[in-house]
Assembly symmetry: C2
Homo-oligomer: 347 residues x 2
DNA sequence: TACAAAAATGATTGCGCTACCATTTGTTGG
DNA sequence: CCAACAAATGGTAGCGCAATCATTTTTGTA
């Protein structure tokens, strides 16, 4: 299975130059056709006689030709590239969306340029410029709050944009997400309905989480109660921060009957800390998560959470983009994938 | 902070054509310089008078110029793009590596093209071709087992390649990883040393996991014992599969004193199932994971695992690539990031 | 068989940028 | 004050491909 250094690769060009890469012209020469016909045979085979296509395929095989998409993109103004900006990947939330997006794009011959913004909207502007310089056919953003500069650049780039993981009546272009406000409200109603009154929060310092909180508090206020205390953690939220959170809240001396967390990771952390301290969940303390990550259903006891179809967000975003890129009519500019409160055994 | 829709963007081109994008030539005209000088001012400012650079910067600002890297890459043969192929992102293992890689690359002005291979080496060949057609300056691969076709293509593309997450004396080019064999051996010694004799496995159907298993079994054999039974699960490994795994093993009627899992997710699943069934961990049954994911230290009881510096793999891979791209000498072609068995309370 | 229409193929040009070499401008010392 | 050189700027060409229009070949029909 070793390749002896003496034997040159059999498919290498015959030219003496040290491996100048194979171009369309080389394939054309081998196939006895013009370069443009080869180009067509590869990109729009329906415009070329089947026999010719076969001849081209052979020549491609023989030469080991790999098209240069930089050149192709420059000439055709279509890069077959879609860029996505995600705060970070640690946060398992976005991973499924990226995976769905990537899978769906790949299935349609597009590639994914992934950028990690690290939750900093200031940095996002430069990021967008860097991305636009690759001339992507579309862009997927996380969230709806972008610097004015970012919006302007995106708008003037004149390419399809999908914002995700949030909801607004005025997206830059298209949107796939859900209402954080409503989730907060739903959580409040659920917990109040189950009789919980003394609310503690372990909450990430994140803008979408803040919206969920405002929904939660709005309804609690309606019911004449409110959040007693909160413990704010930096992003990305981890189990360790969840444990710290409960610790912090308990040290404040107040007593709670439920801790609401801005993510399942924090919730699991809170639960771990409760167990370590011998606090019965949900008997003495109820816990509520968000995101319905893989583990939420498989802890002991399983964590009540809010399910989001994270993968669907990615797939729908891809579909919206592909439709626009390929000029197909778009049913809706705004897709609400909704959510579902999943009651398990911690509430 | 709103931009009134009446006022046309002040930076828009004066041309009447519907937003033809701004090119280097436009900037040059505005700055009263030749295009090539503008190019230099942006790419190699040290070759241009500071006053001229400033003039160019102004013109860029004024015109809202965004370079076209397709054209730039085509002309210069440097794309400032690095491609990475990862089996999948669900598997939290690779996420940190991708994040480290992305961060480090971004810090050096490179962007990340992410491809998900879905664990299928057959598909990897096409993937590599698709990637090479973007003319990346470097490629990061997961694992060391690649189709012969893939190797050939990579070799003839003549760009730096880093293989990761495994170890071999004969990488395609460079490598950042660790020895799965040794991990298996280390686990076996640890568990045997603690007195465990009746080994059950809940194991993912994954080639690197298979190597860890072979290390484990080799040492167990040396000690005159062996794995009693295994339960093989498909990738990606999830908590639910871990639970199924324990269930499957218990139903076989055999009794175990330790279950070794090919990942922490499976281990947590096994532990959950054990707790649900009232099996004391580690009293009646010990559990061993792999990967030392975030949660491993924060379950009750915390899971013994093998720590891998996953983020470092990404960062070192980026560094190796950057060194080669920028022509700096490379200390080592093979970087072993090692591992560390972390004994917690499940063994 | 002839002729129009359709299908298939080809030639030219330019996408936006940088490499390469040529030219101009500025600087130094005799 | 002017060589002699370095620093700064410019002109030309071409990276590899596809859009556009032109030409050739094939097909169907009277």
């Amino acid at each position: 299975m070793q390749h002896p250094p003496s034997a040159a690769a059999p498919t290498a060009e015959t030219a003496s130059s040290p491996s100048r890469s194979v171009t369309l012209k080389d394939v054309a020469r081998v196939a006895g056709l013009s370069p443009i016909t080869v180009s067509r045979a590869l990109n729009t085979p329906q415009l070329v006689r089947p026999a010719t296509v076969a001849r081209v395929r052979e020549a491609v095989e023989l030469t080991g030709y790999i098209p240069n998409l930089l050149a192709g993109g420059l000439a055709s103004k279509r890069s077959r590239l879609v860029a996505a900006i995600v705060p970070q990947l640690f946060n398992a939330m976005f991973v499924e969306t990226v995976q769905g997006l990537g899978d769906q794009l790949a299935a349609h011959g597009y590639q994914l340029l992934l950028s990690l913004s690290g939750y900093s909207p200031l940095h996002e502007g430069e990021l967008v410029s860097a991305i636009l310089s690759r001339k992507p056919d579309g862009i997927v953003l996380t969230g709806i709050n972008h610097a004015a500069e970012t919006r302007k650049r995106l708008l003037s780039a004149n390419i399809p944009v999908v914002e995700t993981w949030d909801l607004t009546p005025t997206p830059i272009d298209m949107l796939v997400g859900f209402s954080h406000q409503k989730i907060g409200e739903t959580i409040a109603r659920h917990l109040y309905g189950k009789g919980y009154r003394r609310f503690g929060l372990v909450w990430a310092d994140d803008e979408r989480a803040a919206v969920r909180r405002s929904g939660l508090e709005a309804i609690l206020n309606e019911f004449g109660t409110s959040v007693i205390a909160d413990y704010i953690v930096p992003t990305p939220a981890t189990l360790a921060l969840g444990r710290q959170g409960l610790q912090g809240l308990l040290e404040s001396g107040t007593s709670f009957d439920v801790i609401v967390c801005s993510s399942d990771a924090l919730a699991q952390g809170v639960m771990t800390e409760a167990q370590v301290r011998g606090i019965d969940v949900p008997g003495e303390l109820a816990i509520m998560g968000f995101g319905d990550l893989d583990f939420a259903a498989h802890t002991v006891p399983p964590i009540s959470s809010v399910h989001i179809d994270k993968r669907a967000i990615g797939i729908q975003a891809a579909n919206a983009l592909l439709a626009r890129i390929e000029g197909r009519p778009l049913q809706k500019k705004i897709i609400d994938v909704g959510f579902e409160l999943v009651e398990r055994q911690t509430t």
